[in-house]
Symmetry: C2
Subunit: 326 residues, 2 copies
């Protein structure tokens, strides 16, 4: 069952893939000493709780529903350490990435497992980050069993975007298709899919878009579906920016920077477009996020030979989506 | 967590959807008295163990790995009842369909839960079948708690093919597409997808195919990938059967019946074809099974307006597939 529980942690983490930028996506499952599942949680957003703290506080709420927990990570960590009354003794954790051992914006997760007297921590992938790593060593020193390498290949897939944006630029191409492969029509994907795309827009450094799309669709390119921050834009165009109609809504978003090149400091970049944009830029893309509806229509499909390798696939309502590499 | 465990049972059952014909697809999850997951199993094929017996024998193997179990359902049922030594006392079961209370090819599952002193059985959907039903009533009389209606809507979706083929004809259309919606090319879906399709071929009463496809592809239309029984065929054609080249492999399959109409006694019928076949027959189809690869190509797509409602979606290796209603 080790793989089963780790897969639950991985799936939960994938739900927040890209949204944790610049942090890695991480998932955590907690079992009690009898191996009953207590919680399945993930790191959801940079600056928010790590997956481990989220999972432990969720489990705490289940075991002690009468106690209300503080919200802020440091206070939450401290509160749980003081008030756990031994309820996590001999518990078991599955974490997709080695727990951190350093005090960052949030306290070290390895310390939390040890304070709560966990029996064993299963880890998919070792953390190679010099500052945060050595959580496993800390755990072992505290007498907690550690087992590495559970679904390690899967764990490494989950980390791929993080490993890329950490050292250079990570480029994601977003595409929405009907089931018969057509990107045409005003709205192709459903609201859940578009909300996820807007959440990504509010996490990225830069949205890259074609001049053609801007003139045809006159978009706003914000993150309204998740009430998030509208991204800065790079317009790929042969024209001068001055030639665009400044009444197109995207130009009216306050505090938005608009580029015609990709600034070096942008580390997480999303491309949005259709067939031509994909043809022009596919070779510089790291990953593809493809939403696909459950509808067929009588429109033309995208025609481009592209053998993709799925890293993860899931459903958002009646839509499917996949995250793919070349 | 009730919904979580029932979803596991449902997902497991869906893996064998269509393959259990003429029986319903059913899944079962067993938890021990401390709510640790012991097993997740399904009914896999008519004449084989019910989901409940499969799940209980899987759990038995986990708890008593030193004891080897008999294979045949009646012997297995009897052996477990005699040798359980109380290991299932206060266990919990999640079953997608009310356990049967009658002796069919296999012994009544309700009796098994009661002999093993289960504490509680969660059920998604009540069994309306007059012969097999009343399992819940039996369980309650034996002092076992029963709770109905867990993910009932999902449970009803799982039963839809069964409810249709039980009283009239159930027609499934199988389609394989590239990610950009093209059905063209010799092999579109991967071996796992094609094996599932062959398993269905070996379960159905009749495979319906177009005369055009037969002349163009010269197929054999057997179930070689699962070493299963080649289905009987109905050829939809305006020509006489005599006009086909009898060297086309499908005509050489021994003991195969070939029709040009659908015989009334065929209850589970699969249509296989492309765009024209889909256009001609979509209105008489109950469900669509659509495989989709992770590859895009430069071929034409299928063009037909069709808003489908997914009942279930999953992956087979790098392919996705969905089971849809109109």
């Amino acid at each position: 069952m080790k793989n089963f529980y780790m897969q639950l942690a991985l799936n939960e983490a994938w739900k927040y893939q890209f949204l944790t930028y610049p942090n890695p996506a991480v998932g955590c499952v907690i079992l009690d000493k009898n191996e009953k599942i207590l919680s399945i949680k993930a790191h959801e957003k940079a600056g928010c709780n790590h997956a481990e703290l989220n999972a432990i506080s969720e489990a705490f709420k289940k075991l002690k529903p009468e106690i209300s927990l503080p919200k802020e990570a440091n206070a939450l960590h401290e509160f749980i350490c003081k008030n756990h009354q031994g309820i996590f003794k001999d518990s078991i954790a599955f974490v997709t990435l080695e727990p951190c051992s350093h005090q960052g914006k949030t306290p070290p997760c390895a310390k939390l497992f040890s304070e709560l007297k966990f029996k064993k921590v299963f880890i998919s992938v070792k953390d190679e980050n010099k500052i945060a790593s050595n959580g496993a060593l800390y755990l072992k020193k505290q007498g907690i069993e550690v087992e590495f390498g559970i679904l390690e290949e899967e764990g490494k897939k989950l980390l791929k975007p993080f490993l890329k944006w950490q050292k250079e630029q990570f480029k994601l191409f977003k595409l929405a298709l009907s089931m018969n492969g057509s990107p045409y029509g005003k709205i192709v994907s459903n609201e859940l899919s578009r909300t996820y795309a807007h959440q990504i827009r509010s996490a990225i450094d830069l949205l890259v878009i074609g001049g053609e799309t801007i003139r045809a669709d006159r978009p706003i390119l914000d993150a309204r579906l998740c009430k998030g921050k509208a991204p800065n834009i790079c317009i790929k165009t042969h024209k001068n920016l001055e030639e665009f109609d400044k009444n197109i809504p995207l130009f009216k978003v306050p505090n938005r920077k608009i580029y015609t090149h990709i600034p070096e400091e942008a580390k997480f970049i999303m491309y949005e477009g259709g067939e031509n944009f994909l043809k022009n830029f596919k070779d510089e893309i790291d990953m593809f996020l493809i939403f696909q509806s459950s509808n067929l229509n009588n429109k033309e499909n995208i025609k481009i030979p592209l053998n993709l390798t799925p890293l993860f696939k899931a459903n958002l309502g009646e839509d499917s989506y996949g995250i793919y590499e070349f």
